[in-house]
Amino acid sequence: MNWGSADNFFAMGGYGLYVWGSYVVTALLMVVEPLLAIHRRRRALRDAASDARPEDHES
């Protein structure tokens, strides 16, 4: 498939809204979801560390 130019590529034969509307939302979700999961694991590890150090509770 040779698009010829970047404009043609983004136009998607007149269906740009539908093609990119699908891909952009998918990409966003697939970036945000892993970030949330990674953040959740880090927080869980931090919480566990504060449990494991009794001296932290006194301060």
């Binding site: 939302v25 979700l29 999961a37 869980a44 590890l45 566990a48």
Partner: protein
Amino acid sequence: MKLTLYTFSSPPKYYALTGVLVPVCWVLAIVLSAIGLWMGFFVAPTDATQGEVYRVIFIHVPAAWMGMFLYLVMAFWAAIGWAFHARLASMVARAVAPTGAIFTFIALWTGAFWGKPAWGTWWVWDARLTSFLILLFLYLGYIALVEAIDDPRRADQAGALLAVVGAVNVPIIYFSVKWWNTLHQGATVSITAAPKMATTMLQAMLIMTFAFWAYAFAVIFTRARAIILERERGAGWVNQLALKGSSRSAKP
């Protein structure tokens, strides 16, 4: 590390094993996505009847497959956790749910963006679309239910019941295009018949499916590890691991 069947029932072993697997899954997901998208946009030809809009298929179909497949995975581990009192299996079931829900949402969203130009409508209450929307509600219902019950083991059991009963919806989705007269087209790819699409289109779609698969494993393993740390908090191995992790990053 020696792998046995019990590796997957021991939270510390599962945690260690998935720690190794997560980066591998990420590399696979990124490489396969790059190849799949390149093939989808630059190798696969324009569709004779639909023009360029058909290119939504490269995420629509893999996302729909993942949405259904992950539901069965979730129901399977939830049932194992319930039947054999296996904590880890229940934790894995919980880890699967958000990813399955997101893929189901993506399938519905991209379906709407494909339906508008192809059928002239974003949404129609036909058998395939409606049963797929029910799949999304089953995921959301499962998540809401297990989060709403304070006792984690009771929450696991209630969630398992919902997940297992809801699993009947998956074959209904799959066969809906055969059983009912729907606007949605029938299966493009089936095990029993030759695929009804160009080879490069099919290859791009299958590569994207493997990419989504790798992505799903990476995210689900990461979330499962978070859930294990949350639920096993206070256990000796978690304390050790947490102290080791924090002493490495602690400022002097």
